[in-house]
């Protein structure tokens, strides 16, 4: 894609070199691996497989996949051919649903965190450990929470490629102006600093939000605050919601108070569709942000990057959220070994690093922390360094069915139409009904 122009081309070249090196390393490493796909003679792995992907889109992404990564894969697996179906995350669910009902399921599918359980539960995706990709093996390369995102009922159904993270971000130049030398360390400080950093004009019109929570999806904002309160979405075995217990109520109450009592932000001040994140143009002093704010800053306001400081929103727990993209294999694939070989290739260090850099995302593989890309992107580096405290959404197989109910419930409280407790209890009732159905 021309979006990043020539610097990206230089980086892609560098990535190719890293990818080649990483492939070599992973090939060396694979000698001791138990994966069927990697222990088989690659020449014996054959098949025409299909890939459904919401990443690698656009000219730049397609070039990366088709001109750089696939030739590397074909070099190792000369008897496998891959045809690619590009889609968008916004319509991935429809693509997967129509594929599932018609029986034309792609051999390899990339999908989001929280999606795996539902597709595994319906028997649409295969247990990767059948061909050697066990949980123990994944734990050697990924943090437990990330591995957990791809498991279901003791089986491994997905392997992570990239992560999206949300955490707190502070504009240190604005904090220092107000006399603060570090981001808030707890909720009390968060409230106090947010109030102090909020700026209104003489008419009372909000000019600068002390703490922005409206530039990202309200479900994900709530989840980040829930994790900060030490809460979880569901119980251990994912059979009942727990987000309506005390930590969840406290988290949503804090969000509501910040808007309705402390007035550090107003509904409508920003939105996930805003042309620019208010942290970049100084309309917010702190906020919850996605890691790609760094990439946006590089394009729109490189001068503020030094002033952007990421922080885990500290409460009774650590407020950091992760989603991401994982690779899965169809349970009905006619060429399971070829599909698994390709899936493992995409998740290996070189291709995964290249895919992450193309989108400005966070590599899931712990070993990539030292890569040049990660070290050059302050937010990606921060995210990787703190992945051990990050929590994800999802859990029960019905997650995709119920996740759309979160935003209206959260927004009802932010709009001061319902108490936090009532909103979450009503939502928990809906979720429990879906789980029990």
């Amino acid at each position: 894609m021309m979006i990043r122009n020539s610097p990206t081309r230089v980086r892609v070249g560098a990535i190719s070199a890293v990818a080649a090196l990483a492939l070599g390393l992973s090939a060396c490493g694979s000698e001791s691996d138990s994966s069927a796909a990697t222990t088989s003679d690659p020449d014996e792995v054959t098949g025409d497989i299909t890939l459904l992907t919401p990443i690698f889109e656009g000219t730049e992404g397609q070039k990366l996949l088709e001109d750089e990564l696939l030739p590397q894969f074909y070099e190792e697996y000369p008897n496998v051919s891959v045809s690619v179906d590009y889609t968008t995350y916004g319509n991935l669910n429809e693509k997967l649903t129509t594929a599932a009902v018609s029986g034309a399921v792609p051999d390899v599918m990339l999908m989001g965190v929280g999606w795996i359980e539902g597709f595994a539960d319906r028997g649409l995706i295969a247990d990767l450990s059948e061909l050697g990709l066990t949980e123990e093996k994944l734990l050697e390369s990924y943090t437990p929470a990330i591995v957990d995102a791809g498991t279901w009922n003791d089986g491994v159904y997905a392997v992570p490629i990239m992560l999206d993270t949300r955490f707190g971000v502070a504009r240190m130049d604005l904090l220092e102006e107000a006399g603060y030398d570090s981001p808030p360390q707890n909720w009390d400080e968060l409230v106090e600093m947010s109030k102090a950093l909020t700026v209104r004009d003489s008419d009372g019109t909000l000019e600068r939000a002390g703490f922005d929570m409206l530039s990202l999806d309200s479900r994900q904002a709530f989840e980040t605050m829930l994790f900060s309160a030490g809460g979880d979405l569901f119980n251990e075995d994912d059979t009942a919601p727990t987000f309506n217990e005390d930590p969840g109520v406290d988290a949503l109450q804090l969000m509501s108070d910040l808007i309705n009592v402390h007035e550090v932000e107003e509904i409508g001040f920003s939105s996930p569709d805003a042309a620019v994140n208010p942290l970049l143009n100084g309309r917010a002093a702190m906020g919850i942000a996605h890691n790609n704010l760094w990439t946006q800053g590089l394009e729109a306001a490189p001068e503020v990057l030094d002033d952007l400081e990421p922080f885990v929103i500290q409460g009774e727990g650590e407020g950091m959220f992760f989603g991401g993209t994982l690779a899965t294999r169809s349970a009905t694939s006619q060429s399971p070994e070829a599909a698994q070989a390709f899936l493992e290739f995409l998740a290996s260090p070189g291709p995964a690093l290249a895919a992450n850099e193309q989108r400005g995302n966070v590599p899931a593989l712990s070993e990539l922390l030292d890569s040049e890309y990660v070290q050059s992107n302050g937010f990606v580096q921060f995210a990787m360094e703190n992945l051990d405290v990050a929590k994800r959404e999802g859990g029960p197989a019905e997650w995709l069915e119920v996740r759309g109910d979160f935003a209206p419930a959260v927004e009802a409280t932010l709009l001061d139409q319902m108490s936090a407790e009532d909103s979450l209890n009503d939502l928990a009732g809906l979720v429990q009904t879906a789980i029990d159905r």
């Binding site: 894609m1 021309m2 979006i3 122009n5 299909t50 889109e57 656009g58 000219t59 730049e60 397609q62 045809s83 690619v84 179906d85 590009y86 889609t87 968008t88 995350y89 916004g90 319509n91 429809e94 693509k95 649903t97 129509t98 009902v101 018609s102 034309a104 999206d164 990202l216 996930p272 569709d273 042309a275 620019v276 208010p278 970049l280 143009n281 100084g282 309309r283 996605h290 790609n292 990439t295 946006q296 394009e299 729109a300 306001a301 989108r359 400005g360």
Partner: protein, 314 residues
């Protein structure tokens, strides 16, 4: 209001009755005042319609840094025309434009030919079950598009004797990833048939009777007598169909896997990632994508407006 006071022989103008010179300036003044008010109201309405379009064009030439400014600028400080070339390089837009054009033209032709025939038959030919067919068509207007996607997809996938399928529709991919899937399922809509019916109903029955006396067949009455009289309808339905087809996104994405069959809206989606939108490129691509629709409207606006007036569409 004085302007609407009836002037009859029984009710002479007040000035004549009282023997004074009538205030001749009164009516023209009021008329021009009303005209000014009307024009101001229309200008405001037009401005409301046009400003988002102008904003789109201005945004398409702004830099990310300018877009990040607050308060936002309306006029670009610098005109980055390179946004257009860079946006076009972000996806194979030449192929996407071609495909969108083929699909929109195909849908428009199918609709104009078959839709007008169906509308004519529902309006002017008496046959058993005509009302039920018409009510069914009206009922179809109420079905949300999303609910039809999976059944339509299954029909396309299991189309017999296509894409390696046997006579029972098994074993292959049917129409998936072919032009058939792009052209046939959306080729004809209940809305267009309904509109055509309404237009044909508005024409006088005498024309038909005269044509029959002259010995014209039903098809010639349809093609040579009635259809030439509904040019506004043809322009209206044609433009609406073309526009709907041109903007179609989900269906082409679902039934194709090859880039060679993807459409312009799929290309524009490249600029809208899950948590980041490249507004300058998106607006540049959208500006280019609207050009065919604007041109079509310019050439067909006379009939289009007539059609809307006749059909009472808002």
């Amino acid at each position: 209001m004085a302007l609407t006071t009836p002037r009859t022989t029984q009710n002479p103008p007040l000035a004549a009755v009282v023997g004074k010179t009538p205030p001749r300036q009164h009516r023209p003044n009021a008329r021009s005042r009303n005209k000014v008010i009307l024009n101001v109201a229309l200008a405001l309405g037009s401005l409301t319609m046009v400003i988002p379009f102008i904003w789109m064009i201005f945004t398409s030439v702004e830099s990310p840094a300018e877009l990040a400014q607050f308060p936002p600028t309306f006029f670009p400080q610098e005109w980055h025309w390179s946004n257009y070339s860079e946006a076009l390089d972000a996806a194979p837009f030449d192929v996407y434009f071609r495909n969108s054009f083929i699909i929109a033209t195909g849908h428009t032709l199918i609709t104009l030919v078959l839709g007008s025939m169906a509308g004519y038959s529902l309006a002017r030919i008496r046959f058993r079950g005509r009302e039920i067919v018409f009510i069914s068509l009206v009922a179809m207007l109420m079905i949300p598009t999303y609910t039809k996607i999976v059944p339509q997809f299954l029909i396309v996938k299991f189309m017999p004797l296509f894409g390696g399928n046997d006579i029972l529709g098994q074993g292959g991919t049917g129409w998936l990833n072919t032009w058939w899937a792009l052209l046939i399922p959306g080729g004809l809509s209940a809305t267009s048939i309904f509109l055509f019916r309404q237009f044909y109903l508005s024409l006088p029955k005498e024309l038909e009777e005269a044509a029959r006396l002259d010995g014209l067949s039903e098809f010639r009455i349809f093609a040579q007598i009635y259809t030439p009289l509904i040019k506004p309808a043809i322009a209206t339905v044609g433009l609406l169909t073309f526009q709907e087809s041109w903007n179609n996104f989900l269906w082409p994405l679902l039934v194709t896997t090859s880039d060679e069959l993807r459409v312009i809206q799929v290309g524009l989606a490249v600029f809208q990632q899950l948590d980041n939108t490249s507004w300058h490129y998106l607006m540049a691509g959208t500006t280019l994508a609207t050009v065919p629709m604007v041109l079509l409207f310019v050439f067909a606006q006379k009939y289009f407006i007539q059609g809307f007036t006749n059909a009472g569409i808002k």
